[in-house]
């Protein structure tokens, strides 16, 4: 990051880039609350085959049966009866930005998505409330057989793939929110990369909640066939409302033999959003899965990206970054299951809590008895900026094979009064000093992002820390 870039970040006034809202003009909105009627309405809207509707009904059954998670943040103020579970923003999905309704087009212009698409993306999907309103992928990728669409399109056009992979890593009985998503899923991304195809530029999806009391339940399914490569990036934001909103996604990633999938999330929901997400990947022999997970926004996040290493020599790399300011609890983490020999994993977590915010890291590592010669390295670093804020770490290690090499380190740092005074004697006010330290703390992770997102991420941190709100 050059000084010029940093200055741009500090002096820009980007608050309105995320917190603005459009008038609500949906073409269809489900009645409040969740019921079989709502599930059927969603299914009818999508004109689904019976097998998918059955999957939804099963999801609803599990949702009604399962309790809230017995651990983690307080969810008692999340009122399912007050939410709208489906909201259709427009009649059709566009393939050019000109065909997107003008208000929604303006929204994504402000989020710079069309600009990024032109500059460095291979494909873009844009979801507004419950539906993808835009989807486009470079023609040469289409010719190579790469599919990038919403899941609805895949249900129609590639039922073979959907039936083979949908819900196989995250069954609807997995947890209450996975069940909920399975019942009312809408939109999200479907990606298929054929064998040995390398998608060099990232594919990006942007998820925007606009309406109040909205529940957004996108479903993402990524299949990277043998020897392929794909980098998928998702961004998300929402306006701030008094009432709570819920974002509950399910993501399943399959990296087949020797494939490489990198999945990057830049989560910047407004603080009235509950972000309760289940993300799981499976890596076959010699495959690599990377989760790069940045959580800045939301009031409550619960998210523990997982990788099942099922083939010999598979690798998992999980980078988790969380930032919790006032009224925020980021309960994030990582799970890796070594189920085959010679598999390896690296888990790196960095979190910052500030202004009364709270971060929690839940890490779970399991090495199965048959998984010989595995390696795993877990590192957790927390930075606590003031005495009103807190951070917890809950690592669980279950190693059932003696040949495993597992390293675990955790540290908690605080910005001391001495550091603040030192910065002060150089003319740097304490808020700016804290922002510098936080940026420095996250920098090794942010460097992993494409340049444009790195700039964005630094800007967001600066905004949060200094309150450079216009």
């Amino acid at each position: 990051m050059t000084p010029d870039r940093l200055r741009q970040i500090v002096t820009s006034k980007p608050a309105s880039r995320y917190s603005f809202r459009d008038p609500e003009r949906p073409v269809l909105r489900s009645p409040k609350g969740l019921s079989k009627v709502v599930v059927d309405l969603i299914s009818e809207q999508k004109d689904e085959p019976a097998w998918m509707r059955r999957i939804r009904h099963e999801g609803l059954r599990h949702f009604l049966r399962l309790p809230l998670p017995p651990f983690g943040p307080d969810l008692s103020r999340l009122k399912f009866d007050e939410l709208y579970f489906y909201l259709k923003p427009s009649e059709r999905k566009a393939q050019t930005w000109d065909d997107v309704p003008p208000e929604i087009q303006r929204t994504f212009n402000r989020l710079q998505l069309p600009k990024y698409e032109q500059e460095f993306l291979a494909g873009v999907g844009a979801q507004y409330d419950s539906e993808n309103i835009y989807h486009h992928v470079l023609p040469q990728l289409r010719k190579q057989g790469v599919i990038f669409s919403d899941v609805e399109t895949a249900v129609r056009e590639r039922p073979d793939l959907v039936k083979k992979y949908f819900g196989k890593l995250v069954p609807s009985s997995d947890n209450k929110f996975a069940a909920l998503n399975t019942a009312v899923w809408s939109g999200g991304s479907f990606i298929y990369v054929p064998p040995h195809v390398h998608v060099e530029l990232p594919l990006q999806a942007y998820f925007r909640i606009n309406a109040s009391r909205m529940g957004q339940f996108e479903r993402t399914l990524i299949i990277a066939d043998e020897g392929s490569f794909v980098h998928y990036v998702e961004g998300c934001s929402a306006p701030t409302y008094q009432a709570s909103a819920l974002h509950s996604a399910v993501v399943e990633v399959y990296a087949e033999r020797s494939a490489h999938v990198r999945y990057t999330t830049l989560q910047n929901w407004s603080k009235n959003v509950y972000n309760l997400v289940t993300k799981r990947a499976r890596a076959a022999a010699n495959a690599t899965v990377e989760w790069v997970d940045f959580n800045l926004g939301s009031g409550v996040t619960m998210k523990y990206p997982a990788v099942l290493l099922t083939g010999r020599g598979a690798r998992a790399d999980i980078l988790s970054m969380a930032y919790a300011g006032k009224h925020q609890h980021q309960d994030a983490g990582a799970r890796v299951l070594h189920l085959a020999p010679e598999t390896s994993s690296v888990i790196t977590s960095k979190s910052v809590s500030y202004g009364g915010g709270r971060t929690t890291f839940r890490g779970r590592l399991r090495v199965a008895p048959n998984a010989a010669d595995c390696r795993s390295q877990i590192s957790c670093q927390a930075l606590i900026l003031d005495r009103h804020s807190a951070s917890d770490t809950f690592p669980t290690l279950e190693v059932d094979n003696a040949s495993a090499v597992v390293a675990h380190e955790a540290s908690v740092a605080k910005i001391s009064d001495a550091q603040m005074f030192y910065a002060g004697t150089r003319g740097i006010p304490s808020k700016q000093a804290a922002a510098l330290v936080v940026n420095g703390f996250f920098e090794p992770l942010i460097k992993e992002l494409p340049m444009e997102y790195a700039v964005e991420m630094n800007r967001l941190i600066e905004m949060e820390m200094v309150g450079a709100v216009g």
Partner: protein, 245 residues
């Protein structure tokens, strides 16, 4: 008589409820080099921190003006931007923050040209015999005690204060590094930077031309004079200046 840059009158401070300074008065005119000597625990560093605005140091009496403004109610960063610099005896590390980024932020807060960091810092590091990668290394991380002190002095070249308070910049330096340090201090002094140099030893003073030397004992300035005072202390120690037991 010139207007003073720093005018401290009867300053009394405490740290953690314990009184440390018992009425210190000191006047520094722009461009003057003052030396502050005194035995361990006499309050020299506390005076430096009080001037720089350390929140841990509580002012219980007296006043201080710097560059025409009342000093003691200002936050440390405001004092620094008004032209007051403190080189720490024990500089803290700033993990994750490189010296160049740190100083760029400091320059930005002054609304100066940020290119000064890339222009001024590397020759300073070089002259002070520091490895060139100190520029991009984290502030005060992985440096020896002596390197940290020199890194502090190197910052003078970028921040160009009106008054630099240097708290024992010479301890832990070998002869070569000491000479380089003295040259830097002398150069800035000749360019018109005022300094308050805290030191235990007169060895640094051989290379400098101080305008005044003060001796602090027990939280008070017990004697002030010209450069000869440093020589006296060199020969006889602080003993004659200590209060009778």
């Amino acid at each position: 008589m010139s207007t003073s840059l720093l005018n401290v009158r009867n300053l009394k401070v405490s740290v953690g409820g314990k009184a440390i300074l018992f009425g210190v008065s000191l006047k520094i005119i722009p461009g003057e080099l003052h030396v502050l000597m005194g035995p361990n625990g006499s309050g020299k560093s506390t005076l430096a921190k009080a001037l720089a605005g350390d929140p841990a140091v509580h002012v219980t009496g007296g006043s201080a003006r710097f560059a025409g403004k009342s000093l003691l109610t200002q936050a440390a960063d405001v004092r620094a931007r008004a032209g007051l610099f403190l080189s720490f005896q024990y500089p803290v590390g700033m993990p994750g923050l490189s010296l160049s980024h740190f100083l760029t932020a400091a320059v930005r807060e002054r609304k100066w040209d940020e290119s000064a960091v890339a222009r001024e810092l590397p020759p300073m590091l070089n002259f002070l015999q520091l490895p060139s990668d100190v520029f991009s290394r984290d502030v005060n991380e992985g440096l020896s005690g002596g390197e940290k002190k020199r890194s502090e002095i190197a910052q003078l070249g970028v921040l160009l204060p009106k008054l630099a308070v240097l708290d024992e910049p010479d301890s832990g330096l070998d002869v070569d590094a000491l000479q380089a340090l003295a040259k830097v201090i002398d150069r800035f002094h000749r360019q018109g930077m005022a300094m308050l140099l805290i030191t235990h030893y007169s060895r640094l003073l051989k290379y400098l031309r101080p305008d005044a030397v003060h001796v602090m004992v027990g939280g008070k300035l017990v004697k002030s004079g010209g450069p000869h005072l440093a020589e006296e202390i060199e020969q006889r120690g602080y003993e004659p200046l200590l209060p009778p037991v």
